[in-house]
């Protein structure tokens, strides 16, 4: 899956799951702020990415995934 394809899939997915406007999801936007994630719902981000892309984001890697751009890159580099 190319990065463009990942972006096309991730943005509407997260917008629906976390009930935010898709237009707010941009490469430079901070994931936690945009999706209004707290320490609990951060797990939901991991779960939905794993479910959709079969890509696990271990807790140790989470600090490196700050923006949506980081997330696209992470999925691109870890997909099977």
């Amino acid at each position: 899956m190319t990065k463009e394809e990942i972006i096309e899939k991730v943005n509407p997915l997260l917008a629906e799951e976390f009930e935010v406007e898709e237009s707010d999801i941009t490469p430079d936007a901070i994931i936690k702020d945009t999706l209004e994630l707290d320490s609990l719902s951060l797990v939901d981000l991991v779960a939905v990415i794993e479910h959709t892309f079969k890509v696990k984001i271990p807790a140790a890697d989470l600090p490196t995934v700050k923006t949506f751009g980081d997330l696209y890159n992470y999925i691109e580099s870890h997909q099977a």
């Binding site: 009930e19 719902s41 797990v43 939901d44």
Partner: protein, 419 residues
């Protein structure tokens, strides 16, 4: 704000009134609709093809509308709520509104919460399935642990409404929703709480009732879903599972009057007992003691009780033995008896609370809803006065039974409140 210990030692005996009611059931999602459904003998039972496809012996179930909470509760809180908590939220909103209790009141006073619930099957199944599928517990998501604990209804409602009084789930099988009212009555009567949100909730899904179907407890009258639940009838062949949620606001009479609330009815007695017998087959002596204790607590003559809302679920053994228990307690007095489960199916963990509401609606509107599908008694059920068709009737007091697996019994006596 904080209750003083001295209350505990006062040995108070408060009158306990109901000031608000809310319902989310297969008969409707507001009191007026449910009242009309009761009067008109509407059935909430349908056939569910998905259950049949999965090998259920009986694919019958009550149909309960799913509430849309998106506009009411933020996603970060909603994700903790399985369907039973969603039903309970809706019924509690209604009950609080009728009681005239708003969020500002809840924020300033110590209000308790007692809700009957005895399963979280779908949420548990979904979580465990994800662990097996992904070999990763994070795949369960953040809401799963809170959805799959038996106290999910009380933990969600207490959080959403900022409740700071007693916060407890009563799990007493199919008597759960009655035990919550009984315990609420006791705590308020004794002065330990002024106001408690009580109720019962029941998930409506195949995950919850598959194993129940497996012990052949359900009616197989699939070609006539609305005739399948037939409490006390000679041709009954099992229960039909249902659910939803029901909420009643209980408070001391003094507390209600002091804040200008209008009491609807008064709980005057609670009886309970254990059968000490078989896990699923009821006996007569256990339920009978529950009825007797409720009457003793209420301090009333049996002739004052104008209606009995029976537990009767449409099973052969249960209905017959309850009929005998009622007959033993009421003797020559042929008190009118019905089971609303002919219309609703068995609302299980919710039933004790919903049936209190159904009975109060009848009492306040001067009718007894006919026991739907009761056509002929059998040898055991012929000993009581079962009302087959809705009739205009005035009564000021009723008795409501709820019995459950393991031999847990609960009986409430509720009377009309008049200024």
């Amino acid at each position: 704000m904080h209750r003083k210990l001295s209350y505990i030692y006062l040995n108070m005996s408060n009158r306990v009134v109901i000031t608000g009611m809310g319902i989310w059931s297969c008969l409707g999602t507001d009191l007026e609709t449910v009242k009309d459904a009761l009067y008109n003998g509407k059935s909430g039972i349908v056939f569910d093809q998905e259950r049949k496809d999965l090998g259920f012996r009986s694919a019958l179930t009550a149909y309960v509308e799913k509430p849309d909470l998106k506009k009411l509760i933020p996603r970060n809180q909603r994700q903790f709520m399985p369907e039973e908590a969603q039903y309970a939220y809706m019924s509690t909103l209604q009950a609080l509104q009728q009681a005239g209790i708003d969020q500002a009141y809840l924020d300033e006073h110590e209000v308790g919460l007692l809700f009957g619930n005895d399963s979280v099957a779908k949420a548990t199944y979904q979580a465990v399935s994800k662990i097996y599928e992904y070999k990763d517990t994070s795949a369960c998501g953040s809401g799963s642990i809170f959805q799959s604990m038996n106290s999910t209804v009380t933990m969600n409602l207490a959080t959403l409404f900022h409740l700071r009084g007693i916060n407890l789930t009563t799990s007493g099988a199919c008597a759960s929703g009655s035990h919550s009212l009984g315990l609420g009555w006791l705590l308020i009567k004794d002065g330990l709480q002024d106001c408690i949100i009580c109720g019962g909730a029941q998930e409506v899904n195949l995950e919850c009732v598959g194993s129940f179907d497996g012990i052949q407890a359900f009616s197989t009258r699939e070609d006539e879903p609305t005739k399948a639940s037939r409490p006390f009838d000679r041709d009954r062949d099992g229960l039909v599972p249902g659910g939803g949620a029901a909420t009643l606001i209980l408070e001391s009479l003094d507390h209600a009057l002091a804040r200008g609330a209008k009491p609807i009815a008064e709980i005057i007695g609670w009886g309970f007992s254990g059968n000490g017998d078989h896990i699923s087959t009821p006996n007569v002596a256990g339920p009978q003691r529950s009825l007797e204790l409720a009457i003793e607590h209420a301090g009333v003559d049996i002739h004052e009780i104008g209606y009995v809302n029976a537990h009767a679920t449409s099973t052969h053994a249960g209905d017959g033995r309850e009929a005998m228990a009622i007959a033993n307690v009421f003797g020559d007095y042929k008190v009118p008896v019905t089971s609303t489960k002919g219309q609703t199916g068995h609302e299980m963990w919710m039933a004790g609370s919903s049936e209190a509401i159904y009975s109060i609606l009848m009492m306040k509107n001067n009718f007894i809803a006919g026991s739907l599908n009761f056509e002929n008694p059998d040898e055991e059920t012929a000993c009581i006065n079962i009302i087959p068709k809705t009739q205009e009737a005035h009564f000021d007091m009723f008795l409501s039974n709820s019995f459950g697996f393991g031999g847990t019994n609960s009986t409430l006596i509720i009377k009309d409140y008049k200024d």
